[in-house]
Amino acid sequence: MAELHIIGQIIGASGFPEKTLFCKWGIHTGEAWRLLSGLKEGQTQVDSPQIGDIAYWSHPIDLHYATKGLQGWPKIHLEVWHQDSFGRCQLYGYGFLGEDFNEKEGGRETEKQSEILLTAARHLNSAQFTCSCVIQRIMQHVYRAVNIHTSI
C-alpha cells in the first residue's frame, strides 16, 4: 500500500500570444490508483497581467492518492485557455506531463513516515508548474520523492 501526495501549484503561463489566460487541469491515473482526497481536476482563475508577460495563477494542487500497484502513474494535463474581451474562451495550448515523474530514490529506510519535498519549476515557453510529490510507504520501506517536470 503506497500513498502519493501531489502537492504543488500551477504558477502561471507565459509565451502565449495573449496574456489573458486561464488554465484547466486534471490528473489522470491508472486503474490501481485511488483518490483519497483532493480535487483531481479544476480550473484556475483568469489572470490578465498588467505588468510582465507571465499570467500568474498560483493555483494550488493538493491530492492524496493511494495505490495498489505501480502502473498508471498519475499524469497531469494542462490546458491553457485564453479569454477574450467578449468572454469567449479559446484553447491556446495543452500538454501532459506524463509518466516521467522523474523519480529520485529517497533511499530512506526508516519505518517512520517521512516527506521529501522537491520543487521543480521549469519555465518552458508557456506554462510553469510546480509540483512536489510525496510518496509514502512504497513497499513499506522505500521512500521516494518524485519530481515533476513540465513540458508543454
Binding site: M1, A2, P17, G30, E31, A32, R34, L36, S37, G38, Q45, H59, H64, A66, K68, G69, L70, Q71, G72, Q113, Q136, M139
Partner: protein, 1606 residues
Amino acid sequence: MEALEDGEEDEREALKRHLRAERQKRKKRLLEQSSLQKSRDADDVKDVTSIQQYSADEGPSEKADDSVVLSKSRTGSQKVLCAPGLTSITQHTHHLDDFVKRRLEEKLKAARSKGESLQDKEASLEFPSRLHSLKDRDTVTRFDREADADRAGRRDSPSPLSTRVRFREAARQVGKGLPTAEEAFNFFTLNFDPDPPDVIETSSRRRQKQRKTTDEDEEHEDVDEDIQEENETQSEEAPLVQTQEDLFVIDQSPQDFLEIKKAEYVGYQKLLQRQSELLFTPSFRTVPTSIKLPENMKPRYLEDEGLYVGERPPVSLTNENILENRILKMEEGKKWFGDDGRIIALPNPIKESSTRPPLFHMEEALDPALQTVYRKAVKSKYANLYIAGGADPEGDYQLDVDVSGLIFSHHPLFSREHVLGARLAQLYDQYLTRQRNNLTGHLTDKLNGLRNALRNMLESHSGLNPTQALQQRISEYNLEVRNTRHLRDSEQEKDRTLLKNIVKVWKAIKALREFQKFTNTPYKLYLRRENVDRVSDEQDYEDEILAEVVELEAETEEEYQNKLAEYKKRLEEWKLCRKKQKAKKKKQKKKKKGQAQDDTEGEDEEQDVSESEGPTDEPPPKPEPPERPDLGSIEQWVREKTLRIRRKPGEAILIPELSASANITASELCPRAETARREDVARRSLFTKILYNDKEVSRTDSRSLNTDFRVHFGQIFNLKIVNCPQSISLQVFEEIGSSCSLLAQVFLPVPEPSVVTGSVPLEEFEFSSNQRVMFDHEGVGSDVPLSFEADGSNKQSLLTSGKVSCCVSWGIGDDDVPLAPPISQQPGGVHSGMGCLDAVSYIGASGLYDMKKIGEWARQSRLDPNDPKNASIMQLLKVASSGEVTAPEYFRLEHLQEEFNFVTDEELEKSGRFRLLKLRNQEVAEFRNYKFIPALEREVTDTVFQEYEKRLKEGEVIDTKEHLDSHRALVAKYLQKIRESVINRFLLAKHHYLLSDLVIEEEIPTIGILGINLFKLAEPKRPLKPQRKERKKVTAQNLSDGDIKLLVNIIRAYDIPVRRLQSNKPGQSSHSALQGSIGLLDQIQVRPFVEVSFQRTVLQTATADGPNPCWNEELQLPFSAPNGDYSTASLQSVKDEVFINIFDEVVHETVMNDKNRGKSIQTHIEKRWLGSVKIPFSTIYSQSKIDGTFKVNTPAVLLGYSKEKSHFTNSGFDILRSLSEGTFITLFITVDPQLVPGESVREKFDTQEDERLLQASERFERDAAQRYPERPCITTVIDLSGKTVFITRYIRPLSPPKELLDEFPNNPLEATPLVARFVSLIPSLPDQVSFSATCDLWSTCDQFLTLLAGDEEEHAVLLCNYFLSMGKKAWLIIGTAIPEGPTAYVLTLEQNLYLIWNPSSGQFYGQYDTFCPLQAVGCLVNPDNVWFNIQQYTSPMRVSFDISKAHLWKPFFSRTFSHPGLSSIQPEELVYRRTDRAAAAELQDRIERILKEKIMEWRPRQPTRWNRYCTTTLKQFLPKLELIRGQDVAEGHRHELQSLLGDYRISGFPLNLAFSEIRPIIEAVYSTGIHSVQASNVEFALAVYVHPYPNNVMSVWIYLASLVLT
C-alpha cells in the same frame, strides 16, 4: 598442330570474306531501300505530315552545307544548328537516340489509347478543322522539331486534338502576320529544298536495322553517295506531295502522332563558327554619348537643373554598355535614351523597408490563407533502424569495405581481339579450375576401384550359388559402376570440349591478329604436348573399352531379362485363354531359338551369355516379346563415344598454357581506328562509389583504365555506422574527361556478424550493364551484335560486364572486439533458411491468432523443435494440441495489472486510514472536521467508524425516546432529511469559488485615504474620547480550542422585581422582620447579580443593590466549537445559547446559640432566579456583536417578589404603557477575536419567476443596497425546495384556528393577542442552525405548521396572514431587531396607531415604545407590493408608516412596472388538526416525571423532598396562567398560595415554553438554578401543565418552587 594452323588460315580467310560480303550486302540493301522508298512515296505521302524521319545519319554532307548556305538567308532561324548530319557524331549519339525512341514509343502507347478514344468521339466534330490545320501543321511542326525534336514529338502525339488545333491555328496566325511576301515566298519554296523530309513509315525495327548497317560501314562513306543523290531527288518530290492536302484526309496511323528522329550533335568549333555568323554579339565598350543622342543635341542633365531624379538601379557598367550597343543596332534604338544620353531607367524599385505586410501580427489573427498549417512530424523510415546503443558515439559499429579492384570481362572499348582474349582467358580459367579439381581423374579412380571390388566379389564366390544378399550387393555395385561411368564420361567430354574451345578461340585470335596486322592483347597460348607410351596407352585404351563394353552388355542383358520376365508374365495370362495353340507354339519356339543362338555367337565371341529360353514370335494378339539387344552395336557405340570424349590412343596429351607474354603492337604501327580506340581507352578512368543504405558514403580514387581492362583500387574504407545495414553497394563509374557515367552497380551482401576483417578472403562480384555503347573506332561497343564468323552469322551481343573484387566485413576494435551489431538487430535475419515457410506470408498476419492455422503452418514448414528461436511457437502448439485452448473473448488494457499489484483490492478497502481519509474528503458529517488522521494503519481504531456505521445502519430509524410526541418524531425525521439535502446542496455550492475567494488583492491606498490618514496624524490626541478601532477579523479555519472567547459585558439592568415583605404574618420571625425593616428603610429590597452560562461554563458578576443595578462587568467565557472544527459552516451550526440569568442574592443569617462560646451567626446565601435572557450563539456569530437593552424574560409570577411600581402606581394607563413593563438588561456581547461571518451562498437557484420580474427585483435590491447599505431589503426569497420566489407570494390572508377565534366571539380585538400567542408558541428554530448555512429558507405557512419549527420569518408571515384574514391592515416588516439581527416583524394599523408585533414572542409594541426590540425598518411587504424605506431614519419611532407617500416609501410595483398578478404560493386554507387533550395529558406526565428525575439527579448530595401539597396547589394555578397568558395574576395567586402554605418561606415561579423537545425544557429548568438550594430542610414543588392548541402546538407550563420551613 598443322591442322590447327590450317584452321587458323581458314578462319582468317573466312573473316575477310565475311566482311567484304557484308559490305556488299549492305550497299545493296540500301539501294533497294531507297528505291523502295521512292516507289512507295507516292502511296505514303499521307503520312508525311506525321512522320518525318529526319535522317541525319544519311544526310549527305554536301546537303548539309547546302542547308547552311540557305539558312543564312533566314536570320533568326536556328535550323542551322541541327541541320548537318555528321555521321561520326551520330555514332556517339546512337544510344541516346535509342533511348529517346524507346521513351517515345512508350508514350505513344499510352497516348494512343487515350487519343484514339478521343478521336472516335470527336472525329465527326473535328474533321473539317483538322483538314485545315493539317496543311499548316507541317510548317509549324518543322520549326518546333528543329528547336526540340523531343518536345515536338511529345507535343504532337498525346495532346488532344482540340488543343492541338488551337495551337496550330495560333501558330499559323503568327506565321501569317509576320513575314513579308518575299519572305513567305522564300519560306515556302526554298526552305524545303535543302532538307527534304525523308519519308519513312517503316517500323522502328527496320530503321534500326538500317542504322546498324550504317554503323558498321563507317569507313566506306563514299559508297553512299549515290544513295544521297537519290535522296535528293526524292526530297525534291516531297514538297510537291505536301501540297496535295486531300491525301491527308485518309485516316491517321499511330505514327501520325509520333516523330522519331535522332538527336543531332554539332561539333563545338563548328557551332561557334556558325553562331558567329548568325548571332550578333554587342561589344562592351562604352558608347560615346553623341551616338546615343539625336544629332546636334547636347546632353542635358536634369539633376543639375535641380529636378529630382530618382536613384537608378545599380547595373554593372559592362552590362549597360552591352545593352546600349545592342539597342543602338535596333531600329528606333535612340528612343531608349534620355536627354542625358543614358538609358531611360525607372528609379530603383527596391525599397529601403519591406512593403509587404508582415506575416505575423501579434494582434490580429492571420489571414487563413497565410496560416501556417501544422503537420505532424513524420517519422523517418530509417528512424527505427538505428542500432540500439548506436546513439552512443563511442559504441558504434564499423564496416570495412575493401575495394580491391575490378576486371572487365567485357568493355565497350574492347577490340575484337580483346573480346576473344577475354573469352580465352575465361576458358582458360575454367580449364585451370577443372584441372585443379581433376574430377575426371577422381571418377576414373573410383570406377576402377569399383570394378576391382566387383571382380573380386565375383571371383571369391564363383563356385558357390550366390546368396540373396550377395546378389543384392552385386547389383548395387553394378548400379554404382554404371553411375560413376556416366559421370566420368560426361566430365571427360566436358574436358575435351573445353580444350577444343580453348584451341578454337586461340585460333580465332591468331587469325584476327594476322588479319588486322597488330596485336592488342598479351595473351599467348602454348599447347604443351606430353608424349605417352604408345603401346601401354593403346592397351589401356582397349582395356577400358572392353571393360565398358562388358559392363554395357551385362546391363543390356539384365534389362532384357527384366523385360522378358515381364513379357512372360503377360504371356502366361495369355496362355491360359489360348491353350490349344500350345503345340504349334512350341515348335516355332524351338526353331527361333536356334536362330538366335547363331546370331549372337557370330557377332561377338567374347559374349558368354547363356540363354535359357529364347523368345518366340507369337501371334498378333499375344504380347510382343522384347527385342534381343544388339550387342555388336554396343561396342561400336562405345568406341565412337570414346573417340569423341577421349584423346586417341597414343596421341600426345595437350596441356594448354596461357601466358601474357605476347607483345602488344605499339600504337604507331596500328591503323587509325585502333589508335583512336587506344586513345579512347587512355582517356578513361574509373572510380567506385560506396553506397551504404542507398547513401553515398565514400568513393575510391579515380584510376585510369589500362589496356588490359583491369583496374586496381586497393582501398579499404572504414564505415562507422549507426543505421542497420540494409544494403551495401558499389557503383562503378567511368570518367571521360570531366563527365562521368554510371557503368554498373554491384550489390554486396551484408556480412554476418562473425565475418570480421582479416579473416575474409576477397570475393569477386560480377556486374554488368545493359547500356548500349557504340564506337566509330575499333572498340566493339556494348550491346552491339558482333560476329566472328566469316559469314556474319552467330552474332553475339556483348554487354559491358566484369568482376569487382572486394570484401565487406565488420571491423575489429582496439580490444579485438568485433564492431558488429548483435544478430537480433539485423532486420531480415529473422527468416531462417530455406525450406522454412515464412509464417506471416503463409497464413497472413491476422491468422497469427488462429491456433489451427499456426499449427498447420508449423507442420508444413517442419519447424525445428530444438531451435530455441521456435521455442515459443512450439510451446504454443503444444498447448494448442493438448487441449482446447479458447482465446479469450475479451480485451483488456492493463492485463498485467494483477501481477504488479502489491496489495489486493480488499486490503485497500479494508484500510481504515484510507477510509477515514476518504470520508473526510467527502465531508461526511462525522468526519468532516477530523483534523489529524493517523499516519499508520494500526493507529486507526475501529471505534472511529462505529458512530458512522451505526448511523448508516439506523439511518431511517429515529429515536422516539427523545421525543415525547410521535408527531414531533416524524417532523424531526423530516427535518433531518431536508437538512441533509440542503447541506449537500450547500456543500456543492461551497466549492464554487469566486475570484475573491482565490485572489486576495490588497487595496492600494488612494490619495483620499492617505489624506485622511495624514489628517488623523495632525488631529489632537484626545485620550478621554477613545475611538473604536476596527478589530482584525480572523478567518475561521486556523483556529483551535481556546482561541475564541465570548465576551459578555453586563452593564446594567432596569426594573428588577423587588422582594415583597411577607407582611401577612408580621413578627413571625425577628430576622425577617429585621430584614423587612431594612428593606423598608432603605428601599433596597433586592441584591441582584447576573450569572452567565455558556457551554456549561458559568460565570457571575458581583452582586449589586437595588432594582436598577449597574454592574458594568466583563465576563470572558471560553468557546469551543463542536469537533474542534472552526470552519464557517461548523460555527454557523453551533446551537449553544448564552443564558444570562438574573438572580437575587438572599442572605439568611441563623443565630446559633452555643453554650460555650456564645452566639454565632451562620449566614446562608441563597440565590433566587428572577429572570433570564437567551441569546443564541449563532446570532452573536452572525452579528459579530450584540449591543443593547433586552427585555428580561421574567416569569409571570415570581413568588416573594413584586414589581416596583413606585412611579406609576396610580395609573389610568393605557394598554400600551403597561406592555412596556418588565425588567430590562443592557448587554454587550461579542466574540474575541472577531470571526468572519459566513457569507450567504451565492448559488443561483432555480426559479419559476418571470425573468423580467427577477431582473427588476435585482435592480431594486441593488439600488437599495447602493443608497442605504444598512437597510435590509428583500424582494425574493428561497423556498424549502430551493427555488427563488417573490416575497409577496408569501403573504395571503389565512384564517387562524377556529378555536382561537371562538374564544372571543364578540371581541375580535381580544382574539388578536391569542392568535399572536399561538404563533409564538410554535417553536422557533433558526435557519442557520437547522441548515448550517446562512441561507434563509422561507417555508410556507402549511409547511411551517407541519414542521412546527421555523424562524422569525415564518412566524411573521403566519402572523401577518392571520391578521390579514382577521380584517386588519397588516404588513410584514423586514428590518433588524435585537437580538435577532435581520428579522421580520409584523406591523398592524389599529385605531390609527401602528403596532409592531414580535411574532416569536407574541408581544406587541407601540410605534413609540422605547423598548421595542425592532431597531430598523427596511421594507414593508403586503400581498400587493413591497415598499422600501427611503426616509432619513430607520428607527420605528422616527419613521412614518404612511406608505402612500412616494418620497418616503419606494414601491416595487409602480405605474411603470405594474403588479403582474402574482399568485400566492400559500395554500388557500390551512387545515388544523384538533387539539388532542389526551396526548397533552400524557406529555404532561412524562415531562413532570423527567424533570423530577433530573432535579434529583442534579442534587446528588442532598435528598430531594417533594412537597405534594404544594405541587397540587401549583398545578391548579397553571391552567389559569395559561388562560390569562401569564399576565398580572400575581397578587391573588400569591395570596392564595400564601394562605395555603403559611409556614413555608416559598420562592418559585412558573416557566412557560413552547414545546419542541424535552431538552430545552430541561435546560431552562436547570438554568434557573432552583435545584441548587442548599438548605437542609428544603422541599420542592414541581407542577407541569401542557396546554394543547390546535395542530399540536403545545404550551408547556412548569411551576417550580422551593419551600423552606421557617
